[in-house]
Amino acid sequence: MKTWVYIDHFKGEAVPSSWEAIGVGKTLSPVTALVFGSNVEGIVKSSFEFGADEVFVVDDAALADFRAETFASTLSALAMAAAPDLILLPNTFRAREMAAMAAIDLNSGVLIDVTALEANVEQITATRPIYEGKLFEKTICSTKPQFITLRGRAFPRPSRQVGTSGPVSRASAKTHSLTIVEGYSAGETGVSINDAGIIVAGGRGVSNNPSMGLDEKATAKKGFELIGDLASLLGGAIGASRAAVDAGYIPYSHQVGQTGKVVSPDLYIAAGISGSIQHIVGIRTAKLVIAINKDSEAPIFTVARYGVVGDLFTFLPLITNAFKKKLGK
């Protein structure tokens, strides 16, 4: 079996779930990591340190900006020449678009957002959530190479062996593209909910505090600041319910549930989130769920291990302080 792992990166930073994909690949066969881009030597080095046995590098100024067209064409050409059985990718927008297009070129299939794999010599069976996580399906692909994108944090991340190195092969890029990248503006800094071990999330309740005498949006801004304080103290990411995103309190990249994201953190703290069915299925794979809500009847308490019935505006600063003391920060 020949396994390739695509290492996704943006502006010189590898997406950490790429390393998880190397870990999965190594349970099946030696792993060839694919690193496409411009000036990517740092990512090549990290790929070895996270377990790649060899690296295929395509380093070309035309690949400085990700474009699904050029990256997919480059991948298809390599795969046609070397015929891998399996191409693993992290489940990012970029990797998904690239796998989608390359699968058309190679007349093969893509298994998306996979949370578990069973492999034997003949067949790989992939488990993935569907219907917003309300169900899971086991799927197979009858053609090769099969593309599988892996859900972030669904598989263990290999430990880094600093200084490890190995053979590097270089190939040329396919640079024909009909799209132009004209500019980029950075979003918020901070941890992405995909890769987060800890998520502190807010819902409708963040705008509900009449005593502050502020309008809805200003109240919600304050509420998310309190959520952000706790998240940053714990080194976690900020999440949000669909209600909070739809109300315009926070960008949708923070949305958990309703295809927003199904997340798998170790700790999920839901503040002012009542717990719609979509939200609850979105956090089903979280290890420990904590609910903070004024309404003791809120459905979120049915999936939480610990609950606090109370106002998030009062309680979040107190719990943040309590952690500060206990963690000595």
């Binding site: 943006f10 219907y131 899971f136 109370g310």
Partner: protein
């Protein structure tokens, strides 16, 4: 400008979806237009309003999917086409993309194709990229805003790391995200018009296609393991005490 919106019909997001005898069951819940596809229809109507032209909604599905198309018509789409063929019961994303590409070619002289960013049922999020690839047209995916200047289309692509500005010349394939604007409600007149609409049905042979062979297949459907957690409500005489107790409990779980 000629715009095609590709939509799908899915069980309502509120539905309790379960696996029953190996099949997906959503009980009495209604089938609706995929919520993200409503944003695609909205984006198409916005473009029609500024650029002129017409909007055609295309849906692969069976007879019930007419309701999703009628929703698009009621919102303001000009035409609707149902792609139905008994051979399409089990298609994968690649098959869907090849069929949609053929339908778009049959609509003819299309300038812009718009998708929602993904469906809420199988949620592969592959169809936009795959349809663009089959057509050989540029893809501008995850657009939060769309500007048209002559034949040039400029979008702001919303990704995890921020916003990218991308451009390409028509014909283009787009997908849109929620920041494109809240989908409009169907108007009374729109609903009346949609209820009377005659929706043509295209079969595979109408588009000169053979039945696609699915390479991705479902072999098993599973209900998620039930999660029986008993919630312990933390009590205390003061909020400070409750916060202290909760912090202790979380630390004891060793998740930090």
């Amino acid at each position: 400008m000629k715009i095609v919106v590709c939509i799908k019909q899915v069980p309502d997001s509120e539905a309790k979806v379960v696996a029953q005898n190996g099949q997906v069951s959503w009980g009495e819940s209604p089938l609706v237009i995929n919520p993200f596809d409503e944003y695609a229809v909205e984006a198409a109507l916005q473009q029609k309003e500024t650029q002129g032209g017409d909007v055609t909604a295309v849906c692969i599905g069976n007879d019930s999917a007419r309701d999703a198309l009628k929703h698009a018509l009621a919102m303001g789409a000009d035409n609707a086409i149902l792609v139905f063929d008994p051979a399409l019961a089990e298609i994968d994303s690649q098959g869907a993309a090849r069929i949609l590409a053929a339908a778009i070619q049959k609509v003819d002289s299309v300038d812009m194709v718009i998708f929602g960013r993904q469906t809420i049922d199988t949620a592969t999020g592959l169809t936009t990229a795959q349809t663009a690839r089959v057509l050989g047209w540029p893809m501008l995916a995850l657009a939060g805003s769309i500007k048209v200047d002559g034949r040039k289309v400029v979008v702001e692509r919303v990704i995890e790391e921020g916003k990218q500005t991308l451009s390409a010349n028509m014909p283009v394939v787009l997908s849109v995200v929620q920041s494109i604007g809240e989908p409009r409600y169907p108007s009374f007149m729109g609903i009346r018009k949609a209820s009377k609409a005659n929706i043509p049905v295209w079969s595979l042979s109408d588009m000169g296609l053979q039945a696609p062979v699915a390479v991705v297949k479902r072999v098993e459907l599973l209900n998620p393991p039930s999660r029986n957690v008993a919630c312990e409500i933390i009590n205390g005489s003061t909020p400070e005490e409750i916060a202290d107790t909760l912090a202790e409990k979380i630390l004891a779980e060793k998740v930090l």
